[in-house]
């Protein structure tokens, strides 16, 4: 009796260990004709909206690739499949789930999470296990200064977000007979890794033109009032006002710039679309400049999806609840396309060979050109600058992609 009592837990334990061991390869990297990609991404919590945008982008690309014959490796066609986990918008959870994807599910090829913060948590894990990851939603510059070898990003990094506005301001100043160095810049950037990266990029360009920074405020994380900064703006009369603080920064700025009748001739901010500025504030946000990773009006073109406009149409037809296609979805789709190209170039599922193929990828897509630097970021695609003109977003810079002329100075309200 006693021996039975003692052995029973053992039996249960070993049985469950066996079950676990058997269950582990359930999602092995390549099974039959299916290649499994993994992603820990935010379906709940503060990143959930954008996390779901990204997931929809991933899913659309998988569907499209599978419908077009899948991924061809060694003369055989493979279908793509993605295993998702919800990281609850918490970086620590992203890390845990990646370990789970790698160790328990046996996934060897990763797609990124949403946000710089969660990608930052993911990067050391994939480095540790030498598992390549193509990410589409972490723009922070600091992801690409740590010497990571298995991290690849299809999007432009954060220091490029507002840098083009500086060049534009210089150009306008020179055209109107002033010197670029006369331009006075006011900046308000959130005190988080992303916005501080944006700031670093701006400062580099400001120095290049010898402009003067007259306001340089750091906005708090739970930002809901920037009237003191705007009062300062009113007092010091800059020529250019830059704001970056995710959608809360965009919404707060949108509301208070209107409310305080700030008459700066040129205003640029990040996350205009995410903050839904046009539907919230209407004409009050006309002539704001907003950087974007991608726009459906750009003349980018590639295999699979065709042009940017084609992608836009297909996305809206697939997901009926979208009125506009967020760039978060477009870049997520591009990341899956990168995986297909890497597998086909490597002609192998060996993670090292696939990694090397990733680093050599050169791709023309609806999302723009993709080519990675040795640090893993995409250096072939520029950020474009759009201006809200009568409620629509029109590309105004860089000149190569501009469809409309920039309105300057903005109509002060």
């Amino acid at each position: 009796m006693t021996t039975k009592m003692k052995t029973l837990p053992f039996a249960v334990l070993s049985a469950s260990a066996l079950a676990l061991a058997l269950a582990a390869p359930a999602y092995a990297k390549v099974e039959g004709d299916t290649i499994t990609l993994g992603s820990a991404i935010s379906f709940t919590g503060k990143y959930s909206t954008n996390g779901i945008h990204a997931k929809n982008g991933y899913d659309l690309a998988v569907k499209q690739i599978n419908a077009a014959g899948g991924v061809k490796v060694g003369g055989k066609s493979y279908k793509l499949k993605i295993v998702y986990y919800d990281d609850e918008s918490t970086p620590a959870r992203t890390g845990q789930l990646l370990e789970r994807l790698i160790n328990q599910d046996g996934v060897k090829f990763m797609l990124g999470p949403y946000s710089s913060a969660t990608t930052k948590a993911a990067a050391p894990i994939i480095e540790k296990y030498k598992i390549p990851m193509v990410e589409a939603e972490g723009a922070s510059r600091s992801l690409f200064t740590k010497g990571y070898k298995y991290l690849f990003a299809v999007l432009s990094t954060s220091e490029q977000y507002l840098a083009s506005t500086i060049a534009l301001a210089a150009q306008i100043a020179e055209k109107s007979g002033k010197k670029a160095s006369d331009v006075k810049v006011a900046m308000a950037f959130e005190n988080d890794p992303f916005s501080q990266d944006v700031r670093a990029g701006v400062i580099e360009d400001v120095k290049k033109f010898g402009m003067k920074i007259i306001i340089d405020d750091k906005l708090p994380r739970d930002l809901n009032d920037m009237s003191a900064t705007l009062t300062k703006t009113k007092a010091l009369k800059p020529d250019l006002l830059l704001v970056s603080g995710h959608s809360k920064g965009a919404v707060t700025a949108g509301r208070q710039i209107q409310e305080m009748k700030i008459a700066v001739p040129m205003i640029a901010l990040t996350h205009c679309e995410a903050g839904k500025l046009v539907s919230k504030f209407g004409a009050a946000v006309d002539d704001f400049l907003c950087p974007t990773q991608w726009a459906e009006t750009l003349s980018y073109k590639g295999d699979l999806f065709g042009t940017a406009a084609d992608y836009d149409k297909l996305f809206k037809a697939t997901f009926a609840n979208y009125k506009n296609v967020p760039y978060q979805s477009a870049q997520a789709s591009a990341a899956v396309m990168v995986w297909k190209a890497a597998f086909e170039n490597a002609q192998s599922f060996d993670t090292e060979k696939v990694r090397d193929a990733l680093s050599a990828v050169e791709l023309n897509t609806f999302y723009g050109k993709i080519k990675f630097s040795s640090a893993g970021n995409n250096i072939a695609k520029p950020m474009v600058l759009r201006q809200i003109q009568n409620g629509t977003y029109n590309v105004v810079a860089p000149a190569e992609w501009a469809s409309h002329k920039v309105n300057y100075p903005r109509k002060a309200n």
Partner: protein
């Protein structure tokens, strides 16, 4: 920092803007602060979910605008529904912890704050929202100072609401019962006051006041499910500075806090605006300690 002070000295008109903005927003802080003082004073519960109640109120205004109505109309449903919500929360949670020690009620209200945050997040998503009042924005002093009508109106509404609450506390039976209970709950019970009902009413009234404050906040600042915490902290600073049961003190502290935030944002930079709130709390506590130690010496 010196540059910014020089700006204020050279163009004093900008002081007007800072002071006005501070007073307008401070009036709303006063509402949430008064609600907290009420709950703290009567029930000895330190409500960590105060800011979340404010944000909940804000979403009433947001829903109003989604329905195509003016967000100010949300004041009435926000007040009424939040009153009911407060009553429910009291019955389900607060009544279970009110007799326990301080730590239990802190934990319970902290848990409540988390539940409200995530509930709002599920219902409305994590986006930042506003409610547009669409009211006139006036320029004075040659355009250097702007005053939005909605801010003036919200100041007036705050004053009216505070006045009504004071009248209610002074003259209604329930108000008198609340005051009696806060002085001595046991004696109040002996006199036949249903203290359980008084507590429920007090908590419900606090939720309703916060709800109204939230409606006003959503038309002046922005709201988001996770923005309650700074509002909770502000309410604590206001009550700690003013003391319990001191309505004029609450109003002065809240207005002062609003103005102090604006000045620190201007002079030290926006990154110090909320830090100022916490620094003021520390100073207030130190000053109180100092005062109390002086009193003790007098007694000796």
């Amino acid at each position: 920092m010196w540059d910014n002070i020089m700006v204020l000295a050279a163009a004093p008109v900008f002081n007007v803007q800072l002071i006005l903005d501070g007073l307008f927003i401070g009036a709303i802080f006063a509402l949430a602060g008064y609600g907290l003082a009420l709950v703290w004073g009567v029930m000895n519960v330190k409500n960590l979910a105060q800011g979340e109640l404010v944000i909940m109120g804000g979403y009433f205004a947001y829903v109003m605008t989604q329905l195509g109505l003016h967000p100010l109309l949300a004041l009435i449903p926000a007040f009424a529904i939040m009153f009911g919500f407060g009553w429910l929360v009291y019955k389900i949670i607060i009544s279970k912890v009110i007799e326990r020690d301080l730590f239990t009620s802190l934990l319970a209200t902290f848990g409540l704050a988390l539940v409200i945050q995530q509930g709002l997040n599920l219902a409305f998503g994590p986006e930042v929202q506003t409610a547009q009042s669409g009211m006139e924005i006036r320029s004075i002093f040659g355009g250097n100072v702007t005053v939005a009508d909605i801010r003036v109106l919200s100041l007036i509404l705050c004053a009216i609401l505070a006045g009504l609450v004071v009248l209610f506390m002074k003259h209604s039976r329930m108000g008198q019962a609340i005051r009696a209970t806060s002085q001595d709950p046991r004696a109040a019970r002996v006199m036949g006051i249903d203290t359980e009902k008084v507590y429920a009413f007090t908590f419900a009234l606090n939720a309703a006041i916060c709800g109204a404050a939230g409606v006003l906040i959503s038309m002046i600042w922005v709201i988001q499910p996770f923005y309650g915490v700074p509002h909770s902290i502000r309410a604590f600073v206001v009550v700690t500075a003013a003391g319990l049961g001191n309505l004029p003190g609450v109003i002065i502290a809240a207005l002062g806090l609003g103005v102090a935030e604006q000045y620190s944002g201007f002079v030290l930079g926006a990154e110090f605006q909320q830090a100022t709130v916490v620094m003021l709390l520390i100073f207030v506590l130190m000053w109180r300690q100092f005062q109390m130690s002086k009193n003790r010496q007098v007694v000796q």
